[in-house]
Amino acid sequence: MTLPFTIIAALTIAGAVAAMSLRNLVHCVLALTLAFAGLAGMYLLLGAQFVGFAQILVYIGAIAILTVFAILLTRGTEPDAFLDLPSAWVSNSVIVAAVFGVLVWAVHSSPLSRRTLPPPPQITVRQIGFALMDRFVLPLEVIGLLLTAALIGAVILAMHEKQAAK
């Protein structure tokens, strides 16, 4: 438990808690983005540069914006006038706590948690690139083709709508 880990973990958890508890939906998205950023920081702390930057690029740059657009396009951002807790909140929280306790106990007592981890390998971006182009080249190509097709398809959809409107 080093200091950077503690700070990043606290930020991530605070962001996640705020995302669940804030009333204003846009605030929730911003808090969720904080949790995403915390996760990216965690990846960087573990030495996984590529995953960390990809997390920032995809989650903060794209997913957060997409969520915000979805909220603004579908409903108002004003919180509902009165959002009451469900009547059975006591029993619900007891069940949640019990399930969480059982999970913690199960993870803690399993032999897997006591296995000593091998020292983490120093993976450079170059190695990831070689792995992608060598062993995982087929999945990469398939995903690339799929995404390009989706991109062109989206452009074509937008084009046709324009022509119909004229």
Partner: protein, 391 residues
């Protein structure tokens, strides 16, 4: 001697670090890398505002600022004092916290991009393995802060401006990244320092910059167009169009927060120009082999000023686009061109060196350009516009 002058800042930093206790050495070393960036680029921003106002003034047949200091060179100081002493007005219904956080996040995100820019030989704050990826990752954070600014102001013009800005930034991010992928393919690395090294060396007196290849030239033009749109500069300045949206997403900002938005815009412009220099124009390398005695950082900043002057010139010359023109241009022209350019870079990589490679790759760039351009002109009637009351 030339070597010493070229490396003077690096030597100075090592000398300074050598004089502190070993316990604080890493921190001092990092501070000495970061503080010059934070000091120098805002200073350049101040200089550029004068340059821009005077340049625009000349283009528009007027003088520009000429009262403060000799030739108005001290104008940015006056501007700074003015914005600092202005009242900080926050609208009553605004979301106070988000309203405050938005400019701070924007400036922070734009500053982060400078970490991976090599401004001279051995002069980069963080030589990261995934430098280019880092640059685009932190660049994508600006979109969120633009949204925060527009939404938290509770003003329909702000929200409209923010929505326009985000739509524009997302649309132009695709060709921006796709056009820089060609360089990453050719260089075989994501590290900015290695990309600059790949472009070092000269044939005769001419350098091996990526811009001097068919795919590199096309990629460079695409990158610069997308960069202009990313930094919300004219002719892509719809998100902050003064005449229609009263400055868009920062309508409700005043005082120093407004200045922070301006700072972030110019910092973003400089950092993305620096990235273009790194990717396509050989970074800090001299343009001709007999000019290598000039220090590397001078070349970098010289190229940077060249780009800034280009931005100012374009701003003074071109009219603003319309929203549908902007989107059509991004998705129907820039995107196909960027995708074709990717293929061109691949062909260039695997064809044997020679005149045939040049011919094939040039044809692969020029033919789609002409065909796409002609294709979009087909259904349009282009004629001289007449204005009823202006003639």
């Amino acid at each position: 001697m030339t070597e010493t002058i070229d490396q003077i800042f690096v030597i100075l930093k090592h000398w300074l670090v050598g004089h502190v206790p070993t316990a604080v050495e890493p921190i001092v070393s990092e501070l000495l890398s970061v503080v010059p960036i934070i000091l120098l680029f805002p200073l350049l921003f101040a200089l550029i505002t004068v340059m821009e106002r005077k340049g625009l003034g000349r283009i528009q047949n007027r003088y520009g600022p000429n009262r403060v200091g000799p030739c108005g060179i001290l104008q940015p100081i006056a501007d700074g004092i003015k914005t600092l002493t202005k009242e900080n007005i926050v609208p009553h219904s605004a979301d106070k916290v988000v309203h405050l956080l938005a400019p701070l996040l924007l400036v922070m995100a734009t500053f982060l991009g400078y970490a991976v820019l090599p401004v001279g030989r051995n002069m980069v704050a963080a030589n990261m393995d995934a430098g280019v990826l880092f640059f685009f990752a932190v660049g994508s954070m600006t979109e969120l802060s633009v949204f925060m600014a527009g939404w938290s102001s509770r003003n329909k013009y702000s929200l409209l401006g923010a929505m326009r800005a985000i739509a524009q930034m997302i649309s132009y991010e695709v060709p921006l990244i796709l056009s820089s992928v060609t360089v990453i393919m050719a260089a075989g690395t994501l590290s900015t320092v290695s990309i600059v090294e790949q472009q070092s060396g000269y044939t005769g007196i001419f350098p091996h910059w990526f811009v001097f290849t068919p795919w590199g030239f096309a990629g460079f033009v695409l990158f610069m167009i997308a960069a202009t749109a990313e930094s919300n500069r004219s002719p892509f300045d719809l998100p902050e169009g003064e005449s229609e949206l009263i400055a868009g997403y920062y309508t409700e900002y005043s005082g120093f927060k407004f200045a922070l938005f301006f700072l972030a815009e110019y910092l973003g412009m400089m950092s993305i120009s620096g990235m273009a220099i790194t990717l396509f124009l050989g970074g800090w390398a001299a343009p001709l082999s007999f000019l290598t005695w000039i220090p590397s950082y001078l070349w970098f900043f010289g190229k940077l000023f060249f780009f800034i002057a280009g931005f100012i010139w374009i701003r003074g010359t071109l009219p603003r686009l319309r929203m549908d023109q902007l989107m059509n241009f991004a998705w129907k022209f820039m995107l196909p061109m960027a995708l074709i350019n990717l293929v061109t870079a691949g062909v260039w990589r695997f064809m044997p060196t020679g005149i045939l490679r040049w011919l094939v790759c040039s044809a692969m760039v020029v033919a789609p350009y002409v065909l796409l351009g002609r294709g979009f002109m087909l259904g349009k009637r282009l004629e001289k516009r007449t204005y009823r009351f202006a003639d």
